[in-house]
């Protein structure tokens, strides 16, 4: 085919390699800064089946780097807008658009339908979900992530290699690292990293040596510095995730977004218990019904004290410990757990106001 003549001309690809590309199925999670360039080059390269999952719509601020979209796509669903543009680029491949967020209810099913997963997401929750679902379904993940002028690239779960958790075992404890929408990003950076992700996908499919497995490639767009770090596999962690999934019938129990609740909504719940995971003595001191104080460090030894049949509102001072506690409770199969937005200070203020209102 004329379309792929420049690929076929390469000894390392040839018709045989091109056939491998057209038999491949690749899922790109996130059609944003990283996903757009990855999708463009994968579609152009003739990946036979290309999946796109993204639940967002195209916004004007995206156009500075997400060049798959144009002004005419503003306000439209990214997954469908990307599909339209890519079908024009290459009508000979089949493209599936999923206008939804990757979640623990669709990840396993979706991953099973593809050979390779490209991580182009913009948040830690989805990154850990991708990692764990890929471990369970035994799919390699081509990982890319960016921060302002810097990018990270790697291939995880490739031929029994290390996973993302071997690099960063748990999501950041100390609050989220801000993402591009909050702090800005040099537009061309995701294009560089996303194109490199497409390159790793092609290397995997074509069977090239030197796939970036067990290595973290770090690039700085400002200084042009490149560092490649080697990652050791953490067998113990990987076995843990896989066996957990087996026990729970593939219901992935990984780091899903923690559900948060406002003070107003929390106070309206009739059968809720408030669990304060601050250490005793921390201020403000709270006085309300259905209140328990169990500090974060004590909670795993005191699970029997928590009523599993009520809504569980967890609070701390700023929201970091309460989220950790919610995760811990959920890991122990407690349901209906929420982290209280604004924590103890917000709750204390609301209770004071309520008291004043009652006096009036």
């Amino acid at each position: 085919m004329e379309r792929y003549s420049r690929h076929i001309a390469l000894n390392e690809v040839g018709q045989k390699g091109q056939d491998k590309l057209s038999n491949a199925k690749v899922l790109v999670v996130g059609a944003g800064g990283l996903g757009c360039p990855a999708l463009q080059y994968l579609a152009a390269a003739g990946i036979g089946t290309l999946g796109i999952i993204d639940g967002d719509v195209v916004e004007e601020s995206n156009l500075q780097r997400q060049v798959l979209y144009g002004t005419s796509s503003l306000g439209t669903d990214k997954a469908f807008a990307a599909k339209d543009r890519l079908e024009d680029l290459n009508p000979t491949i089949s493209i599936h658009a999923f206008n939804e967020k990757l979640s623990n209810s669709n990840a396993i099913r979706l991953f099973k339908a593809y050979d390779i997963i490209v991580d182009g997401t913009d948040n830690f929750e989805t990154r850990y979900l991708i990692n764990d679902a890929a471990l369970i379904t035994n799919r390699p993940v081509v990982y890319g992530a960016i921060y302002k002028f810097e990018g990270q690239l790697s291939v995880f779960n490739y031929k029994n290699g290390p996973s993302y958790r071997c690099l960063f075992a748990e999501p950041p404890k100390n609050g989220d690292i801000p993402n591009c929408s909050e702090i800005g990003v040099l537009g061309v950076l995701p294009a560089i990293i996303g194109s490199m992700q497409a390159n790793e996908v092609l290397k995997i499919i074509l069977g090239f040596e030197g796939v970036l497995s067990g290595k973290l490639y770090c690039y700085n767009a400002k200084t042009s510095a490149v560092h490649i770090m080697s990652i050791q596999k953490n067998e113990h962690l990987i076995t843990q995730i896989k066996s957990k999934a087996l026990q729970e019938g593939e219901a992935i129990h990984c780091d899903m977004a923690i559900e948060e609740i406002s003070v107003k909504d929390a106070l309206q719940k009739e059968e809720a218990v408030f669990i304060d995971v601050r250490n005793s003595g921390e201020k403000p001191v709270l006085k309300l019904d259905n209140y328990q104080q169990i500090s974060l460090s004590e909670i795993s030894n005191n699970l029997h004290k928590v009523n599993p049949h009520s809504d569980i509102i967890v609070l701390c001072q700023s929201g970091i410990r309460s989220k950790k506690a919610v995760r811990l409770l959920e890991q122990n199969r407690f349901k209906n757990c929420y982290s209280l937005t604004g924590g103890a200070p917000a709750l204390s203020a609301a209770l004071k106001n309520k008291k004043n209102d009652e006096r009036i």
Binding site: A145, Y147, I177, C180, I228, M229
Partner: protein, 77 residues
């Protein structure tokens, strides 16, 4: 010995440099980390992994290299 410490992402912003030299006698990576955290207290609240001579390692590893890199996770896409 002279160690070359490299900072990535938000850590480079907090320290104000991409890399610097640090004199260190001997000990574990955690000892180097103590020195760094004392010099840059804001780093205490940050998550990062450490690589010695381009190999990711635990903090209990003995310092036997010349380069220590502090790598935070990135979430952006």
């Amino acid at each position: 010995m002279e160690l070359n410490i490299k900072y990535f992402g938000i850590l480079a912003e907090l320290t104000g440099c991409n890399e610097e030299q640090l004199s260190f006698s001997s000990g574990k990576v955690s000892d180097v980390l103590d020195v760094i955290l004392k010099k840059y207290p804001p780093l205490k609240n940050k998550d990062f992994q450490i690589a010695q001579n381009k190999k990711l390692i635990g903090i209990e590893t003995a310092v036997d290299g010349t380069e220590i890199a502090l790598l935070p996770p990135f979430s952006g896409g």
